[in-house]
């Protein structure tokens, strides 16, 4: 089983972004790395100049590099950027919108988690058109993951295994809105929240996280304890989505669990030290609400306790 580092979804400063990938190239035990801007086209120019050096460093370190498309493509310049990306001879693209496939001669491509592939028929359709790997939507349960892997074995399937879960994309920028700005005049306020802007319920429970036009979960997906079931389901790769924590250490933990060098329960305890004060969840994989953290074999009722008290947390995590 391989590890893939997903694209940085947040708006990190160009230097932080570059240095993050330099360290990944030198130290992280991941097989593939997805680079580029997926969330907001306004951010793309900031990292554009660093991309060639980042790609070169990653490839020199033996990483398989993929270039992410945008998720929501509507403006003329976004369509132009997408077309250029798809027509580039060098870049292998991870498409996050089906418009990437319009009118293009087939070349091998990867399918990102924002393309709606919920079943083996849709996966097979994309495989016929040149898809070689697919990161399935985070809301898919294990039964669907297994069915797709079994029916379309020529497609390497990947699941979203670590990181705040991307839940929605909008034309409206909620970072700008929170700062009483508009998207066109946003002053890039999203850069102030390199790990997302926390959104709590009015009684203080962690709930969501805003990243510009994107909404993520407050909880962080961790499928560490599900690795044996994922292997059985034919999953080829686990996606680690960069957060504001030591991602090299996160990758090492996942590598150790995949290679059966460490007990998954112990690994998740250590993950809590690497990324503290963020609840873990794996509900989607078990067909439960996404925020839930269940036992590796299925939902445990104790994990779904809801604290009604003011300031209480919805998550009975890290017990």
């Amino acid at each position: 089983m391989q590890l893939t580092l997903g694209p940085v979804l947040y708006h990190w400063s160009p230097e932080r972004w570059r240095d993050f990938y330099y360290r990944v190239a030198d130290e992280a035990q991941v097989d593939a790395v997805v680079v580029g801007e997926a969330v907001c086209s306004k951010r793309a120019p900031f990292k554009q100049d660093h991309i060639p050096a980042v790609v070169e460093r990653l490839e020199a370190a033996g990483k398989h590099v993929l270039h992410s498309s945008l998720i929501l493509i509507s403006l003329p310049r976004e369509r132009r950027q997408t077309r250029e990306l798809m027509q580039s001879d060098e870049a292998e693209v991870e498409i996050n919108d089906l418009s990437c496939l319009a009118g293009l001669a087939p070349k091998p491509f990867a399918v990102g988690p924002f393309v709606n592939v919920y079943n083996e028929v849709a996966a097979g359709f994309l495989a016929e058109r040149g898809a070689t790997r697919i990161c399935l939507p985070p809301e898919l349960p294990l039964t669907a993951v297994a069915a797709i892997s079994a029916a379309v074995p020529q497609l390497a399937t990947e699941v979203f295994a670590f990181g705040r879960v991307p839940l929605a994309i909008s034309a409206r920028c909620y970072h700008a809105r929170a700062h009483k700005l508009t998207k066109d005049n946003c002053r890039f306020v999203c850069e102030q929240d390199p790990d997302g802007m926390p959104v709590k319920t009015l009684d203080g429970a962690g709930f969501l996280s805003v990243n510009g036009v994107q909404t993520l979960s407050d909880s962080c997906a961790s499928l560490l304890r599900d690795v044996p079931a994922l292997r059985q389901a034919g999953v080829a790769s686990l996606r680690l989505s960069p957060q504001g924590c030591d991602m090299v250490a996160v990758a090492r933990l996942f590598r150790d669990v995949v290679d059966e060098r460490i007990d998954p329960e112990e690994a998740e305890r250590r993950l809590g030290e690497i990324y503290p004060n963020v609840p873990f969840s794996n509900g989607f994989l078990h067909g439960a609400p996404g925020h839930v953290r269940t036992g590796a074999g299925g939902a445990t009722p104790g994990d779904r306790l809801v604290s009604q008290a003011r300031g209480g947390s919805l998550h009975e995590n890290r017990a």
Binding site: Y118, T143, A168, T201, F207
Partner: protein, 325 residues
């Protein structure tokens, strides 16, 4: 300009037809359609009769089979497609690559519309659906302004349909898992959003709190009506303050935008609300008929004729007007 009206029940279908709909859309009573609510939708027999009724009055029926098929259970979606075609559906409204591909191969003559749930937000995406599946019309996601819609119409050969009244998604349709994050039930997989089965209200310190899947979505003082906890229309707390951080509890009312949308080249105007009763449907359809007649004759449309239908909710033109973003 066509007026496309919702029907959650055979009674609503008849009401919409009689009130002046050009076409009615509806779905089967199962997880194949994106309004899979208890007590709603059509059996096979009801659909057959409904289509016959509508056709006798020159009204078309569009069948929405617009969820994403469950892996390993594609037969349910295949059967829905086959049965809708056999019942005489004028078009199928589809979102999933799987259902589009199947319908296109199995029923090559059948008219296919791309559902709003497919999130086709630019001319390239629309071209993809037209080239691969022969799609004839696309229902545009509610993320575009009128100028962008006009440019899409100029660039594609596909007809376009836009929502003009009813519920408003502020996230791009078909790519939102907020509901399943809180409840386990999503529009894409289950055909529901913020389902009533997961809603609870409670009283605390003289306030009414509304919850969805255990998460507090809003809290109302004595002078505020306790609204339904639709997740993206709730009040939440951020470091920059508390409030409606995504959108207020508003619904879409783009009646004032109809002339601009017509000039943009839009083929059809769609009213949301298959979950609504027949009186509501009849009232909204009649109002829109009057507005469209006025526009056709160059008169100014009757003012505020729809406000009574919005059930206390404020209206918004949403993303159609630049600046909403």
């Amino acid at each position: 300009m066509e007026l496309i009206c919702p029907a959650g029940t055979p009674a609503s279908l008849e009401a919409a037809v009689e009130a002046g709909a050009d076409a009615v859309y509806c779905g089967f009573r199962d997880e194949t359609n994106a309004r899979n609510f208890p007590g709603l939708n059509f059996s096979r027999e009801e659909l057959r009769k409904g289509i016959a009724f509508a056709h006798r009055r020159g009204v078309r029926v569009l069948v929405a089979i617009n969820t994403f098929a469950r892996a390993g259970a594609f037969g349910l979606w295949q059967a829905a497609i086959d049965d809708a075609v056999a019942a005489g559906a004028d078009a199928l409204i589809l979102a999933d690559l799987a259902t589009l591909d199947y319908a296109h191969r199995r029923h090559p003559g059948q008219r296919l519309h791309v559902s709003v749930q497919a999130g086709a937000a630019n001319p390239d995406a629309i071209r993809f659906y037209a080239e691969n599946f022969g799609a004839r019309r696309v229902v545009l996601p509610r993320v575009l302004n009128v100028m962008e819609i006009a440019s899409i119409v100029r660039e594609t050969s596909c007809e376009t349909e836009v929502f003009v009244f009813g519920g408003l998604c502020v996230m791009e349709e078909g790519r939102c898992s907020l509901s399943s994050y809180a409840t386990g039930q999503s529009p894409n997989m289950n055909g529901v959003c913020s389902p009533a089965s997961h809603v609870a209200y409670s009283e605390r310190d003289g306030r009414i709190d509304s919850r969805l899947g255990g998460f507090t979505i809003n809290s109302f003082g004595k002078d505020e009506p306790a609204g339904y906890p639709t997740l993206c229309k709730g009040r939440f707390a951020t470091p920059k303050g508390s409030g409606y951080i995504f959108e207020e509890p508003v619904s879409l009312d783009a009646a004032v935008m109809l002339p601009a949308l017509r000039d943009a080249g839009v083929t059809a105007f769609k009213i949301e609300g298959r979950q609504r009763g027949r009186a509501y449907i009849a009232g909204v359809v009649r109002s829109f008929r009057k507005i469209l007649a006025a526009i056709d004759e160059g008169r100014s449309p009757p003012a505020a004729s729809l406000m009574a239908m919005a059930e206390g909710q404020a209206g918004t033109v949403g993303a159609y007007r630049k600046g909403w973003r």
